[in-house]
Structure formats: structure tokens, C-alpha cells
Symmetry: none
Subunit: 453 residues, 2 copies
């Protein structure tokens, strides 16, 4: 690593993470115009969070010089660690280095070792370095260089006024390894992040945010300010993250509390960490050496796709059918024509015939079917848009359920998939545990059907 | 819409968009912790951009009361339109309403109509409203309510001190329709955004960003600074957005230029605007009164899903099969066992048998099949991870193609789907136009197969 000899730090290095205020400045009109998602916030926020630090603020601004100067001045005044992304490219509109050096009262100095690295990179690609790339060979006079193995612009590291400035290149494939391999260890050495990851996430399914909070209140409230609780709801699932920014609760205490929460949640508990509903189902299927086949109308492939997103899905996933036409239901799944005539495609009876049909056709132990009206057109008075019928074929019988969803088509589809996955999960958990079926919440019930529909 | 009678506006309503400073405050630890991508910035930034406004700044902060107060005070002082997202939920960590009302010197008043809407929503779902939901029934004393058809928390609208505050709920399925259907029209009525979209987007497929730029250079260069050109590449597709921030080119001139670009692009031109590849295929299929069936292994439902995301897909989409096991390929698609034995599942021969099988089974005019290794496991020396075979069954014969993709599993899947869709699109365009098949770029060729594989 290239490092200057006259770095003036002014930072001590205690062991637990100090309560430092972190701020991320993401630069670029493409972010403000919604042309590119702000993946830097997601990546850096998550990486810091796993090290016991909650990023205090993220500001996205245009890469116009005055805006950068004003924002940086403000951020430098109020925060302890400022991370910038972008604006380090070779073109004339990348002025971030110059502007920030000006605010900090530093000179930019030409660093021969950077020029060599950039030239070597161009040579490896069989291309010649253009003159404007030399712009990237400047560092702060009192600062260090973070070498970039995946691009031309190195990162820059400055310690000044008891604060840290980290400037990172914009392309994710350059930023990610630089942050993980260079920035986090340097922050940890200064005691500004934990030396290892420090939080626990409790993931739930089938329970709303407010019900979850009320259910766990007796377990969580006694910890007061020692405990930080963050809820995050997404498409019918709620995650709860427990941490202790003050360090009052250590890793073992957080783990113990998370275990208690999981116990109190019963089957509404999905997992610790980040596994998806489909992944949890996949693990249960693999553990039980079961196979699954799916049949869908309204969700149109999204259910199958949630399983096939999992690497190695062929171990448990036999396949799926997307049956939009009645013809396809009869041809692919042997749904009897009189069921379609008598009950229609959006019915418990058809869902049951689809689930049984696909499981039997593909020789799978479990069959999961979804039919319904995803909208915005379609629907009847009895079964309006958003009505979903699920059916689950198991070694012990076949059941159906009815759900009502609302919202745009994509949301109805995703929620119907989540509802189907959660039902399968609960059934697999019950089968593994033995015992009777627990009733569903909110008046939702499953109907048992005779074999053969 | 619920609206209070004593709204004090202080805003005039000129016709063209005023040069207003827009600021977006996105609230939530889940954003700062990287648990959720900041899709609000992407959505709102893009929506404003299409109405001639560049969002000036986005600040993401924790939903802790002091942080919200400090940030809101700062933003209110410097900007004209402040949009907040999140923090309107029912749990104790959702304090945004109270804090911002405090800064603005407003009271929060209980709004009976909101309580009724929330109760009705719970009743429809067959659940009982919990007490903490009542928190969401408060509005600003001098402000309006933006009803929420898709969730419990309504949006809030305040005009004060010649500025506008818009508070939106966090879940995207609630925020998106509220922003499009309620907020944009209200902003347009105040002259704060253009009354309609003020740019033209040329969407392409199957051509890279630099090739696109070089191809169109002769058409675009003459306009100099009068024309603003933004490129946006996503999963093998490139969009080009033309606008004239100075107003030097009017709508008719931009349209004319876009038409010329489309002409120069030939079959690489996809559409004007935002239609997806699948949507363009769907329109071509509907126009020709054709039907389509799909069969997939590696893409695992994602291909079917791209069609079933389109409302009214049942008009042209017969259905699809996701065939992970050899058993399912034989059972559902009549793939002959000796093809699987001789060539393997990842082969042109199997793709052809799948495309023909699904089209014949479902009585569709076109059959589109994808097979391959999505990774990270699998693959052979001859066909490594990322190898994709496509087959297209048409009224005139059946063809296969081989693609090589790289990247993570999700990216290989999406690019394979896009490759399949773009092939279908080119074939449908050619069939409509008549004439011979144009060669694919980059040495990519389609192989014709005899009927029956």
C-alpha cells in the first residue's frame, strides 16, 4: 500500500467502536435522475451495520463543483467519518478531488506510483493510457492512497482535525473490494468500527409489523436504551434487527435475546439472518429429502422463479407449469374439464386439481398451486381482483386456502407467492415436528379436500 | 379526497415549471443499514426528471426524532419542495409526523375519515385493527390528506411559507400510485413540475452503449449544447434519453430527432418510452393474433414471468413449463429420451425439442425455449457456467442459438431471458415486415433444425 509519511492523525485506537458519526456522500446526477440505483448506500450501509455502526446520514448530490463544496463543508463540520463515492474519473466533469482539497486546505500532489499502476493496467489490457487519466494520479499532500486493483482511479484516505475522509471510486466492482479489504481494516484499527460483525436479525413471515412489536414487547422493553430495535417490512414479511450500539449488550446477550424472540414467535419465526422464504422452504425440503412441483396461473412463473433463484435447486425442485389457458391446465396438469366448467379457473377446486396434477405428473412429494386474479382487469363480484386460491398437495392430503390481496399487479403476484411459500414452510415445519396443524391467523383457514379433488 | 378548509397556500400557479429546489428526505434505518435499496430515490428522481425537474438533493437519515428535526429544519430552509418517505407506520419508532409538525409549528389533529379507512381496510382483510394503528389517523391542522388505497398510512400534504411538504408512506406499492396519481397532478397544478413528460426516450436492444453512441453521432452532434443526451445501460439493454433543458429544442423537434434515431437503428430500435422487451413482444403477438408458449430450465420461470407481468397476458400467452428434471421434460414436453441421453439437457437439440414440444402441447403458434447453466455450480468444459441454448419454434420452422453469459446466477438468468425475448422480437418484426432474416451481430448465428428436432 502506498502511504505518505507525514499523515497527521490525531486519532486514538481504542478497542470497542467509538460512537463516531458516519456520513456517506454519493455523487452523481444519474442517481438523482433515478437512472441508477444507489447501490453504494446499500453496500456501505450494510457493511458498516454488520460492524456495529449505523451510518448516520447519506446525502446524494449533483457532481457540480459548488454543490460538492457546500455539502462537504457541512458534512465535515458535523461528522467524524465522511465517505464519498464517485467523481474520481478521468473526465473534465470529475472535480471532486480538487474541490474537497480546497475545502480542507490541502494541496494535491502527483504520485508517481499511481501513474505507474494506471499505465501498467492499460498495458495489461493492450491499450495506451490517455492523457486525461493522469488526473487520477494525484493524492492529498497529507493523505494516503488506496490502490485500486480493478480500475484506474485509486481511493484516497485523509486523517485531519480528528476526522477521517475516505474517497472511493464509483464503479461497484472497484468500490466493493476496496472498502472490504482496505477501508474496514483501517477503520477497525482506529477503533471506528468493530473488529468483527455485531448484530442479530430475526426474520419473520405471516405476521404484521405492529402485531410483531406487541408480541415481543415484554421481551424487548426491559432492555431500554441498551437495545436498538429496527423493523423492516417488505411484501408481507417483517425483519427485526437487534443491536446494542452502546455495547451494553454483548454478542452472547443479543443471541440469547434473539433465541427468546424466536421462541415467542413460534411458527411466525422464519430464520436468523437473511434467508428468503423460498430458501427456508428449500432447506426444509432438502433436509426431509422431499421434492416439490408448482403450478401457477396468476403468479405466472414468479413462484417457480423464487425456487430456481436458489443455486442447486434441481436437488428438490422437479419443475413447474404456468397455465394461463384452460387448454394448458388440462393438457399439462390433467385438470378435469368439468372442474373448469363448473367452478372456473379461479376456484379452490381448480387450485386443488392443479396442485395434485403437477405433483403426480412430475412425481413430486409436494405440489403447490396458485390461481387467482392479479389484475388490473378480470375478477368477478364473488372473486374480485386480488383474490388468490392456493392449494397444497402433501403426502397426507390436499388443502386449499383463499387470500385477498390488493395493490398493483406486481404486488399482488409477489404477495401471492409469499403467501404460498409461507404456507408450504409452515406445513414442512409441522411435518418435521409432528403434531397437529396450527390454525392460521386472522380468520384464515385451510380446507381439506378429498383425494382426487 | 379529505382536505382541510384552512390550508394557507401562498403559492401561485404559473404554467411552465418554476425553477423550484426539490429535496427528498428518505427515512429509515433499513436504508442506512443497507437492508433495503433506496428505491424511493430511483422512483421519485426518475418521475420528477420526466417532468423537467432534477431532484437537487436526497438525504437519507435515521428515523430518530432529533435527527429528523435537525434535517427537516435545514431542508425546509433551503428548498422549495420537500418530499419525505417512510416513518408513517404504526410502531413506536415512527415519529416523523410529530417531529415535523413541531418544526412547522402545526398541531396534529385526529381525522375521523382516516380512522374509518384504516378500520375498513382491516375489516376487508378479516383482521382487527390494533390500537397503535390509530396513530396513522392524524393529519396536520393546516394540511391535506392523501388517501392510501393500498395501505393504512395516508400521505400528508402541507403548503406553508411558500413551500410544499409532501409526506409519503414507505412501502413502494403504496408510495408509487400515491405519487403518480395524487402528488404529480398537485405539483403540476402549482406549476412546480411540467404538466406532462418533457423528454423523449429511445429504447434499444441488442446493441452496446458505445456502438449506439457511434452509430447516432452524425445525427446528434450537430445540435451541440441545445441537446442533452443521457445513456442508461441495464442488463444488455441501453436507453437513450434526449432532452433540451435550455428549451432550444421544442417537443416536435425532439420527436423528429428521436424518429431519425429509430430509423438509423433499424431492428436494434425497441421502442419510444418505457415498454419492456416482453411488452413489445406482447404487442407484436397481439397485433398478429399469434399465441406463444415457453419452456425453460435455467431461467426457471423468469421468462414466463416477464410475459405474465403484462396485464391481459392471457390473450396471447398460452402458458409455460419450468422443467428442471429430465422426467419433467419428457412428461410435460414430450422431449424424446434419446435426445437427453445423447446430447444432454444443455444442448441445442434439447432446446429445440422443448420449444417444439411446448408449442405443440399448448397449441401455440410460437414456442420459445431456454436451457443452460445459470451457475454457480454445474457446467462442463464444452459448455461452462453461463452457456445458454435458445430455441424458437415458428410457423416457418425451428431454430436454435447459443449464448455465453457471465456474472452471478441472477444476472445470467436475466440476460438469458432478455436474449430470448430480443430474438423473438426480431423474428416477429421480420415476420410482420416480410423479407429475409437479418444476421445477428457479433458472430452470433441461428441454426435451422429439421421439423421434429
Amino acid at each position: 500500500m502506498v502511504s505518505s509519511s507525514d499523515t497527521s492523525s490525531g486519532l486514538s485506537s481504542p478497542t470497542p467502536p467509538r460512537a463516531a458519526r458516519y456520513e456517506l456522500i454519493t455523487l452523481g446526477d444519474e442517481l438523482l435522475l433515478g437512472l441508477t440505483a444507489n447501490s453504494h448506500l446499500t453496500f456501505i450501509g450494510a457493511a458498516l451495520g454488520r460492524r456495529g455502526v449505523i451510518l448516520g446520514r447519506n446525502v446524494t448530490i449533483t457532481d457540480e463543483a459548488d454543490a460538492i463544496a457546500a455539502q462537504f463543508r457541512e458534512s465535515w463540520a458535523r461528522s467524524d467519518v465522511i465517505i464519498t463515492t464517485g467523481g474520481l474519473g478521468p473526465t473534465c466533469d470529475d472535480r471532486t478531488r480538487e474541490v474537497i482539497a480546497g475545502v480542507l486546505g490541502q494541496e494535491l500532489v502527483f504520485e508517481e506510483s499511481i501513474r505507474e499502476a494506471i499505465e501498467a493496467r492499460f498495458a495489461r489490457m493492450g491499450r495506451k493510457m490517455t492523457e486525461n487519466n493522469l488526473k487520477q494520479a494525484y493524492r492529498f499532500s497529507r493523505g494516503e492512497v488506496l490502490p485500486n486493483a480493478n480500475g484506474t482511479a485509486p481511493g484516497l484516505w485523509v486523517e485531519q482535525d480528528g476526522k477521517v475522509l475516505v474517497m472511493l471510486p464509483g464503479p461497484p466492482n472497484e468500490l466493493h473490494p476496496m472498502f472490504t479489504e482496505q477501508v474496514l481494516p483501517k477503520l477497525a484499527a482506529l477503533g471506528l468500527v468493530a473488529a468483527k460483525e455485531a448484530y442479530v436479525q430475526v426474520r419473520t413471515a405471516g405476521i404484521g409489523e405492529s402485531a410483531l412489536e406487541m408480541r415481543l414487547q415484554p421481551l424487548l422493553a426491559p432492555f431500554g436504551d441498551a437495545l436498538s430495535i429496527a423493523f423492516c417490512a417488505h411484501q408481507g414479511q417483517v425483519d427485526m434487527r437487534l443491536s446494542s450500539p452502546s455495547g451494553a449488550l454483548d454478542e452472547a446477550a443479543l443471541d440469547e435475546l434473539a433465541q427468546k424472540c424466536a421462541g415467542a414467535l413460534g411458527d411466525d419465526f422464519l430464520c436468523f439472518g437473511h434467508d428468503s422464504l423460498a430458501k427456508v422452504c428449500a432447506d426444509l425440503l432438502r433436509a426431509g429429502e422431499h421434492t416439490l412441483a408448482v403450478a401457477e396461473t396468476a403468479t405466472g412463473g414468479l413462484l417457480a422463479n423464487s425456487f430456481t433463484d436458489i443455486a442447486g435447486a434441481s436437488k428438490f425442485f422437479a419443475g413447474g407449469c404456468v397455465c394461463y389457458s384452460n387448454e394448458s391446465k388440462m393438457q399439462l396438469l390433467d385438470v378435469p374439464e368439468d372442474i373448469l366448467m363448473q367452478h372456473g379457473a379461479v376456484s379452490a377446486e381448480n387450485a386443488v386439481a392443479m396442485a395434485a396434477g403437477v405433483a403426480e405428473r412430475l412425481g413430486a412429494d409436494y405440489g403447490l398451486a396458485v390461481t387467482g386474479f392479479a389484475g388490473p382487469c378480470g375478477g368477478t363480484k364473488e372473486n374480485p381482483v386480488g383474490t388468490i386460491f392456493l392449494a397444497l398437495y402433501t403426502p397426507e392430503g390436499v388443502w386449499s386456502r383463499r387470500l385477498s390481496q390488493s395493490g398493483p399487479r406486481s404486488s399482488v403476484k409477489q404477495r401471492a407467492v409469499n403467501g404460498a411459500l409461507d404456507w408450504l414452510r409452515r406445513e414442512l415445519v409441522r411435518a418435521k415436528r409432528g403434531g397437529t396443524r396450527a390454525p392460521f391467523g386472522g380468520g384464515d383457514t385451510a380446507t381439506r379436500h378429498a383425494p382426487g379433488g
